[in-house]
């Protein structure tokens, strides 16, 4: 079937080819580097837990100690498991404590010692991956038992009190009120922390820290809700920032179901170094692929800094790149929650038809992906009455164009992080629109050659042009030039570059090995 937009298949194919060509050099770069975060993720898979009295996780202390002694370029697995073997420490956590106390030093073994260390590392990491596999199987069981949401799009709601113990009842209330997916927003500062905080937390700003314990508490609470409601309620968090690979790992271990995980968000909106990001990205996506986690990409963010009409094609280009990177890392189409958003200035004539054109374009370019449709934010104001109206039309585009995941917009977008009542009002809005207009897509037939088709074709054309330029100049240069979200991020700038190392010849990473073998 040709779809409602009558897209040219040859053009679509060409766009995908260009995205592959634009992304390939970056994948090669990622394959040749590691980062402190990747190495910490590996050790987390291998079983290290806990934090020092200052709250710095032992895994950080351990990786820092290894890096100080032998550098990062060989991977930490071999030196760590070698030290574990010879130090007499019971486990990695104890080893980290000793290292912190200065009573262990790290070195690169050779010969059988090296082989033994590799084998031990691989065994330990395999156990971690096994746990992830079990969590995935558990999810599949629970989904079978309780069932998936009855409708598409899935209803996705944000919780953001900063306090996990306030978040939990709010999340449960939201689930009861109809949410299919709960996202716990992170505290503003977390993405730039180069470690993952520990334990349950109550002091976030505009969001709650992502910690393994918070993940566990919230997943357990939502398991209760799933049981109560007879519908598996999904949990989302953010695999982004300087600890992206570790958080992905913790998500896999605690059976989170979706993760925000964009290939460029950290670069553009957190000023994290591009190389660091791409290396961390690839590893975290391999974990997500294994864990059966759906990723959510962040193209919506571009439209908060760039104009949603002018920059519509940058969203498409980024979706194509995110798709390529995701496939390369082993993710299947059903795991690609590619992002896009309802951010056109509502005062623009025909803005709603433009939104429809953009949303349909994404739908038809990625027919098998559970697209994530994001609500208006930029043009939301303190006029909450108008806000609820705009959110209604956003919901309408969602159902008319068959989006997969609907992030529910809040009338207080411009005012506060969502209140309990905001969510309730927003969910009523969604329910009304999905209920009243659920079948309307049958009657929505963009006029052949009309405004909507023309707009979609135009955006696809612009996307191809932009991809051609990126293929010529290189993606890193395009990012440096402000192509996405008007944010200029040179490849040698940004935070976290010091945590990147080029692979030495003997670089060894049992996790990558296992994940890529699958």
């Amino acid at each position: 079937m040709r779809g409602k937009l009558d897209l040219d298949r040859a053009q679509v194919r060409r766009a995908r080819q260009l995205a592959r060509r634009a992304g390939k050099p970056v994948v090669d770069l990622a394959r040749g580097h590691t980062t402190v975060a990747v190495e910490r993720a590996v050790l987390r898979l291998a079983g290290i837990t806990g934090a020092d009295p200052d709250g710095i996780p032992w895994v950080n202390r351990l990786v820092d100690a290894v890096a100080a002694d032998v550098g990062l370029g060989h991977g930490v697995s071999v030196p760590v498991f070698h030290a574990l073997a010879i130090s007499g420490a019971h486990d990695l956590t104890m080893l980290a404590q000793k290292a912190a106390a200065g009573s262990v030093r790290f070195s690169l073994p050779s010969g059988t010692a090296a082989t033994a260390a590799r084998r031990a590392a691989r065994r330990a990491v395999a156990a971690g991956i096994k746990r992830i596999d079990r969590r995935r199987a558990e999810r599949e069981r629970l989904v079978k038992r309780y069932g998936d949401p009855r409708q598409r799009p899935w209803i996705y709601l944000i919780v953001a009190t900063g306090d996990i113990y306030e978040d939990i009842p709010q999340a449960q209330a939201a689930a009861r009120a109809g949410a299919d997916v709960i996202a716990v927003i992170r505290s503003t500062g977390q993405s730039l922390l180069d470690y993952v905080p520990e334990g349950p937390t109550r002091e976030g700003f505009a969001g709650t820290y992502a910690t393994q314990e918070n993940f566990r508490l919230m997943r357990a609470a939502l398991d209760e809700s799933s049981k109560e409601l007879g519908r598996y309620v999904r949990l989302t968090n953010y695999a982004s920032g300087l600890c992206m690979p570790e958080i992905a790992t913790l998500a896999g271990l605690e059976r989170l179901d979706m993760m925000l995980n964009d290939s460029m968000y950290g670069i553009l909106f957190r000023d994290i170094n591009p190389i660091r990001t791409f290396v961390d990205q690839r590893f975290s996506r391999q974990i997500h692929a294994r864990a059966g986690i759906i990723i959510n990409t962040g193209e919506d963010n571009y439209l908060t800094t760039a104009d949603a009409v002018e920059a519509a094609h940058t969203v498409t280009v980024s979706q194509l790149l995110n798709e390529y990177f995701a496939h390369e890392a082993g993710l299947a189409d059903w795991q690609l929650g590619l992002g896009h958003a309802f951010e056109i200035d509502p005062d623009l004539p025909e803005s709603f038809r433009l939104e429809l054109a953009h949303a349909l374009l994404a739908r038809e370019l990625f027919p098998d992906a559970p697209l994530k449709w994001m609500p208006p934010t930029r043009h939301m104001t303190g006029d909450v009455f108008r806000g609820n109206l705009l959110d209604g039309f956003f919901n309408l585009v969602g159902t008319l164009t068959g989006q997969g995941i609907l992030l529910v917009g809040m009338m207080t977008e411009a005012v506060v992080t969502p209140w309990l009542s905001d969510r309730d009002i927003a969910l009523q809005n969604v329910r009304y629109v999905l209920g009243a207009c659920g079948g309307l897509h049958e009657d929505f037939v963009p006029a052949p050659g009309g405004f909507i088709q023309r707009r979609a074709h135009h955006v696809l054309g612009e996307s191809i042009e932009l991809l051609e330029r990126i293929v010529d100049d290189g993606l890193l240069n395009a990012i440096a030039d402000g192509t996405f979200g008007i944010m200029k991020r040179p490849a040698d700038g940004g935070k976290g570059l010091s945590g990147v190392a080029r692979h030495e010849d003997d670089y060894y990473n049992p996790a990558t090995e296992l994940l890529e073998a699958a």
Partner: protein
């Protein structure tokens, strides 16, 4: 458990509320200051004007968010609790039959110029509301529904003629407190026309009444938003029977 609570935005005790209003002043900094002054007097501290919009030359609309400093003392909440048992149709019929030994007569009307009959019809007509049948459905009640725009003298006259046990009056239009004026006029007319012993039970209802105002309006009971017929029927047997069953 503490009986002191505060409004809840997203954290226990945060006290957050939303407020909107118009001030008859042109939209400028002074207007915003005026809005903050009002919010302050209402007990918002801090208050944020998150939206302001000029309407014509002389008016400005505001949306304000903020933390209200007042505490709500649940112990001191004054409500009209249901102080009678909620009965089924069968029980009600039996009670009337046994204790009144005749049909209980109910006269209903929308008085004044109010023509909103849907509410009183929901209480009186067989069809009822919210899955409950209306009073006409009760075998032992005799219902006389006078409809809309009944004048107070006509109502009093008819209530007397029908020997009404209870008069049910609906008032939906509230602009300029029309519902309050009409209710007061009605209760005064009954007081004037009939001695206390022969005066029917006076009941008013409508979506914008404050159920706590019965005494002030001179009526026996007020029913608000979302009333159902069974509540009314139960109240009637409760309020009419004990006192009068003896006399009857």
């Amino acid at each position: 458990m503490s009986t002191i609570v505060r409004p809840y935005g997203d954290t226990t005790g945060d006290g957050m509320v939303q407020l909107s209003f118009t001030l008859p002043v042109p939209a400028d900094k002074r207007a915003e200051g005026a809005a903050l002054q009002l919010a302050g007097k209402m007990g918002l501290d801090p208050a944020m004007v998150v939206h302001s919009r000029a309407m014509g030359d002389g008016y400005t609309f505001f949306v304000v968010y903020g933390r209200v400093q007042h505490l709500v003392d649940l112990g001191k909440v004054h409500v009209v609790e249901r102080d009678f048992p909620l009965l089924g149709a069968r029980e009600i019929n039996t009670l009337v039959k046994r204790r009144l030994r005749r049909k209980l007569v109910v006269v209903g009307a929308c008085i004044g110029t109010d023509a909103h009959t849907v509410g009183i019809d929901a209480i009186l007509n067989v069809k009822g509301i919210a899955g409950e049948k209306g009073l006409e459905y009760y075998r032992e009640l005799r219902v006389v529904n006078l409809g809309a725009q009944v004048s107070v003298p006509d109502l009093v006259e008819r209530a007397r003629a029908e020997k009404a046990d209870a008069v049910l009056v609906s008032q939906v239009v509230t602009q300029r407190d029309a519902h309050l004026h009409n209710t007061r006029e009605m209760s005064a007319a009954f007081r004037e026309a009939l001695p206390a012993a022969r005066r029917p039970l006076l009941v008013v209802g409508g979506p914008r009444f404050d159920e706590r105002d019965a005494a002030g309006l001179g009526v026996d009971r007020i029913f608000g938003r979302g009333t159902t017929p069974r509540e009314v029927a139960s109240y009637l047997v409760h309020a009419v029977l004990p006192a009068r069953a003896v006399a009857a």
